[in-house]
Each structure stands twice: as structure tokens, then as C-alpha cells.
């Protein structure tokens, strides 16, 4: 899948905390407009991969090229200007701020104030539950509402690439399904590219075009979603179901 049309190209990526690397020589290609699922057991390095892609964690080796630009020289603060939104694990809602403040925070960097305001309205239209809770503090929200808030806040930046870390974590299956449907819908409507990290393999593969399986920080396999779903050996070995 390497080559032309890739929005994000990762090669030889090695990173970790302290001296011991968590990721080893990871190679990954995300075509524009695709939904790619990164799968793997707990501790496989999925979150570390996203944190390294967005620069929260410095890579020891390897390259991360987004739309032709090596991201290693780009500050985390400037990532959102390149069109990359990272919704971290645990949703990253600023619990001390209100729903409205969280959402506005997502658009503060934008020069186009008018479009930022429009995007804010769109998010409220997309998630009516949030519109009703504008003035509530983040810590008063349910898990599902927090996920909607984090996702909505990312959308206000009108990203081209969404890095989404475990959106289903702690959510009821019904809400997880809603969020997956929303991602699929966003891709259809806006051409959003999604790199989706999930432990919930079934949900992730239900919307992904392709899955990448990580084990102990290495890419062990990469295949289209349907084949991964049907590969019983692989599921037993790496995905635990």
C-alpha cells in the first residue's frame, strides 16, 4: 500500500519511553480518504504509535511523512494547522472547562473565525446532546458525551487526518456503534482520513478498509478488513477473540 496517494507515510519508526523502545521499525501507509484500524492487545504499542505520530513522544528513529512533509520537525502545537487532529486515549476532554469552552478551544487556532463559528454550530447539530449541555463542566458528562465532545472538538479544526485512540473505551455497544457510523459518514461526506486505534476489533473492522495488527511494538500483519475478520488463527494469536 506504499506509494502514491498516501496521506501519511510511516517508515522505520522506533520509539518508546526511556531507553527501551516500545515500537520497533513500524511501517505504515494511510491512503487519503481511508479508514485504517490499528489493532492489537493491551501493550502492543497502539497508543505509543499515535503519540509518536503526533510528536507528543519523540521518535528515536524513522520518519513520519504527512502530505509530503516530515512531521518530526513540526511542533505538536502546529500539527493542528497541518490538518491533523489527535483525540487521545481517555478522550482528552478538559474536565475543568465547560462543553462550550472545550469546543471553542478546538477552533482558537483558526484564522477563519467565521468558519470556526460555523464548525462549532455544525458540531452542535451533529451532537444534540452536547448542545443541551453547553454550560456543563466536562467532569459532569457521561463517557459517551465525553467521546462526542472530544470528537466534535477535533472536527472543529476541519482536519484531513484524524488520529483516534480507543474511542470505544468504556462505552456501551450502542454508543460505540453510533460513533463508528459517524466516522464512516464523515469519511463519505468530507473525505476525512482516519487512523483508528482500537482494542474493540469487531467495531473497528466494521468500518475500516484495512487493519494493521501490532504485537509487542511490531507490525505483524496488514490486510483488508474482511480478511482480518475471517482469519481465525490471527484473531486467536493477536486479537484475543
Amino acid at each position: 500500500m506504499t506509494g502514491a496517494g498516501a496521506l501519511l507515510e510511516v517508515d522505520g519508526l522506533t520509539a518508546g519511553y526511556g531507553a527501551a523502545p516500545v515500537l520497533h521499525d513500524v511501517r505504515l501507509s494511510v491512503p487519503s480518504g481511508a479508514i485504517i484500524a490499528v489493532l492489537g492487545a493491551n501493550g502492543a504499542g497502539k497508543t505509543t504509535l499515535l503519540r509518536t505520530l503526533s510528536g507528543l513522544l519523540r521518535a528515536a528513529r524513522g520518519s513520519v511523512v504527512f502530505d509530503g512533509e516530515d512531521l518530526r520537525g513540526v511542533k505538536v502545537e502546529h500539527l493542528v494547522r497541518r490538518g491533523i487532529a489527535h483525540v487521545p486515549e481517555g478522550r482528552g476532554v478538559v474536565t475543568e472547562l465547560t462543553v462550550d469552552e472545550n469546543l471553542r478551544l478546538g477552533g482558537l487556532w483558526r484564522r477563519d473565525r467565521l468558519d470556526a463559528a460555523r464548525a462549532l454550530d455544525e458540531v452542535y447539530d451533529l451532537f444534540p446532546a452536547l448542545a443541551q449541555r453547553r454550560a456543563s463542566a466536562g467532569h459532569q458528562l457521561s463517557g459517551g458525551e465525553r467521546q462526542m465532545l472530544a470528537l466534535g472538538r477535533a472536527l472543529i479544526g476541519r482536519p484531513r487526518l484524524l488520529l483516534l485512540d480507543e474511542p470505544s473505551l468504556g462505552l456501551a455497544p450502542r454508543i460505540t456503534a453510533q460513533i463508528m457510523a459517524l466516522l464512516r459518514d464523515l469519511r463519505e461526506r468530507t473525505g476525512l482520513t482516519v487512523l483508528l486505534v482500537e482494542q474493540n476489533v469487531r467495531s473497528a473492522l466494521s468500518i475500516a478498509d484495512e487493519g494493521v495488527v501490532l504485537s509487542l511494538g511490531r507490525v505483524v500483519t496488514r490486510n483488508n478488513a474482511a480478511e482480518l475478520r475471517d482469519d481465525a488463527d490471527l484473531r486467536h494469536a493477536y486479537l484475543g477473540f
Partner: protein, 292 residues
Amino acid sequence: MDRFVYLTFDGLSRGAVYAAFALALVLIWRAARIVNFAQGAMAVAAVYVAYSVTDATGSYWLGFVAAIVFGLLLGVAVEKTVMRFVDHSSPLNGVVVALGLVLIVQGVLGILFGNEYRPIETPFRRDAFEVGGIALLSRYDVFVFAAVGAVVVALTLLFTRTAVGLRMRAAAFAPDVSRLLGVPVGGMLTLGWALAAAVGSLAGMLVVPTELGLHPTAMDVVFVSAFTAAVVGGLDSPIGAVTGGLVVGLLLSYVSGYLGATVAPMAVLFLLVAVLLGRPGGLFSHSKARLA
């Protein structure tokens, strides 16, 4: 009764200054999770700047402005050259570095200006108006209230109504998430230090003339009261800091009025210990879990 009314007004005007100083501590705590023990020494340095400028120009207000501007710059300098490099894995590190700064600042001030008390002028008279034979407030007290009130209002508007305020709060609460949303977290931290040091300088300008005078260690005792005020209010809460300041001011005034001035510093320490034992989160803490 007359005495009680007098002591109450005296306590409130002292308390207003502690409130401003506690506010400076809260600003840095919220931005960086550091109790800036160097706040007092930094404020004294700003007052020396005011003293020199006023001495050279004859204008109190030029000195006043110079102190605030110097405070802003000193805050930026301290954050950018010292505090940024402190390892925050243990809260003690920041405290020790701040205490080191105190020694440096006081030492430098001693070298430049000498370790002697210097009288410092006030822009308004300090003798109180009398109402029905009771001395209530002086013009200077009114100035103190107005200045502290203006700072509280300005900071509240800044934090709740402006984009910069939203960025500062977000950066303090969730630095990584904020960076992912394009907030220049380092810049917000520097700004927090600048604002806090400016507010601290203002508090120094207000309090030094009411104490013994200008001296490199002039703020040491004030710092204890202001720190207590900030802790009483819960280090996280600007409104708590203001209330804490007024509580400490009243306590000091009543205790020194009824029991004698020598007991007053002990009363502040008792209050500090009592709050830390009883409600370590401060009187205004409300336990809201950070579930991220």
C-alpha cells in the same frame, strides 16, 4: 464596639493586600503547579525599581508603572531562564529552586541598595477619615481596595471572557491535549508567570509602605500571611484567594488589636495548620474528580 469597627476596617484593608499577593500565588499554581516561594523577593525587587524611578523622577506614578512593568519582565525571565528547567517530577524541586531564588534576589538587592530600611512614600494620605468619632478608612486604604478590586475584575474577565484566558486555563489543566489543539503551552506558562509577578509587584507596592519600610527582606512576613491566605482559599481558586486574604487580614487585625501584636504571627500559623489539617484542599475546595 468602636474598636471592633476600627479593627474590622483595618483588617479588611490589610486583607486586600494579602488577597492580591495570594492571587499572584494562585496564578502561578494554576499555571504551573508550583508554589512560588520567590514571589515575595520578586515583589521587593519591583518595589526597589519603583523606589529608584520615583527617586530619579520625583513621580510616584512613574515608579508605580515601572514596578508593574519590571514585575512582568522579571516573571518572564524567571520562567524562561530558571523554572522552565526545573524537573517537575517532585513538587519539592520547584520549591527548593524558588527558595534559592529568594536568597539570590535578596542578596543582589542588599548589594545594590544596602541592607537598611528605607522609607517609601504613598500616593495618598494614610490618616483615616473619621465617621462618628471612629477612624474607618484612609484615602490610601481606598486606593488599595480600588487597585485590588480592579485586578480581580481584570483577571476574572481575562480568564472567563477572552481567548487568551481560555488558552491559559486549558494549558494549565491539560497541557498535552492543549498542545494537540494548537495552544502554545510554553507561551501560556510564561504569560502566567508574567501576570503573577506583575500582580505580586502590585501587592508589594501596596503593602511595603504600610509595614516597616523598604528592605530586601520586607516581604518575608507578608509572604507567610499571603501564603496562608492562598491555602485557606484553596490554591486553585482566585475567589478563594481573595476571601482567604480578607480572612487573614481580619484575623491579624483582631488578634493584634485584642491580644497584642506579638501574638498575631502565631495566629496566622495556627490558621495555616488548622486549615491544612482540617481541609487541606482549602475552604473553597469542592471535590470534583479528574476522570480525564
